[in-house]
Symmetry: C2
Subunit: 207 residues, 2 copies
Amino acid sequence: MKTLDETRLLQFKKNLSSCVNVKSKVFYNKELIISYSPIKKKIGFITKGKANIVKTDKEGNTTIMRDLKENDIFSNLFFQNTEDEIYIISNGETKVIFIDYYNIIKNCNQNCPFHNSIVLTLFDLLIEDNKQQNEKIELLSKRTVEEKILFFLKQRMNKNNIFKVTTSYKAIAEYLFVDRANLMRELKKIEEKGLIERYEKTIKILS
Amino acid sequence: MKTLDETRLLQFKKNLSSCVNVKSKVFYNKELIISYSPIKKKIGFITKGKANIVKTDKEGNTTIMRDLKENDIFSNLFFQNTEDEIYIISNGETKVIFIDYYNIIKNCNQNCPFHNSIVLTLFDLLIEDNKQQNEKIELLSKRTVEEKILFFLKQRMNKNNIFKVTTSYKAIAEYLFVDRANLMRELKKIEEKGLIERYEKTIKILS
DNA sequence: TTATTATTGTTGCAAATGCAACAGTAATAT
DNA sequence: ATATTACTGTTGCATTTGCAACAATAATAA
């Protein structure tokens, strides 16, 4: 039994607007959805499209900390105490609902029957986010670039063992926290070993 | 304003037992608190002591994914879809409360006034956990072992810029996902650079 | 106490990695 | 249509890293 099925998420979206204070907004490619700021505590919920959580340190190195898709949540609440700059950037057309944190923790004025269900769904969405973070940590725990690439590809390939690079190899290198040139080099080696077949931005995983 | 202060956590612990079905248990050093198992969905809350989330892959390599302390939560819900083995191991004497997941998502029988407040506190504890995971991802995003060490030390030093190795250098190497011998080598280099001073298991951060 | 096991500290070496640089191509803006 | 910018693919090279091995010390068990 999946805890977060389509029906429940649909209900969640419906209830949200009738209970808590929400704002919906559409972003286009590479727009800034939110930058870390401690001022307004809010939770974002992606109803359509994709986005990246990007970190830039003071030397200017950017890394992609996470990638988000439909039904994922994010929040500036998750990025406190960091010395670097955190941005959330849309990747193509992306629709986001913003939920005010204080609306969640306080019962809504109308004492509506939806509030409890909303909090529980958010709770499960948080657990889902937590799970995805653990997958990222597991990816980064791999010792070599080869291991990282294979883990990444297996995680994302479709039922035909195909992975298509929809972003760029540059972005994948940033996501894996490895040097881009080295990513290309290792991809070639892995192909020579017969573990993958690659044609430009289409990769078939054979192992 | 901190969302999770002592008063609120105390209240949380009190309410828990009167509302949902909880079990409390004490573990001693290096005992298995929980292993990943999809059978029973439960959330653990550490009321005393420390623990580690440890992963072992099929080659037998173990890595420390996270370290947990008092007032941290963990759950097998966070580790689904993993092909490796995940364990939570106590680090010294550790007291844990286990909360049944279904008790949380269903309103309790008595429809008690505490349930809502418990869910909201768990919600904030989840956010806190999320934040800690992001810190770990940030740590792992560092390119070199030197950067990892310095980030790790600065994160954990006390007000006097002192960090004491309470576990072992082996454990730290596993936490940073780097080779132990290389950790020692880099520590020496960093000391020669004048960034730290080290005497056995006490490190003073100078930079 | 003594034996056994785990951790620390060190080194040589091979392999992996990041950096810099550059040409070629693709995508985007003017 | 052309100019400009971004991405791909590749390579040489210096540096970083992990691995293996070993002695010394510390911690734990018998």
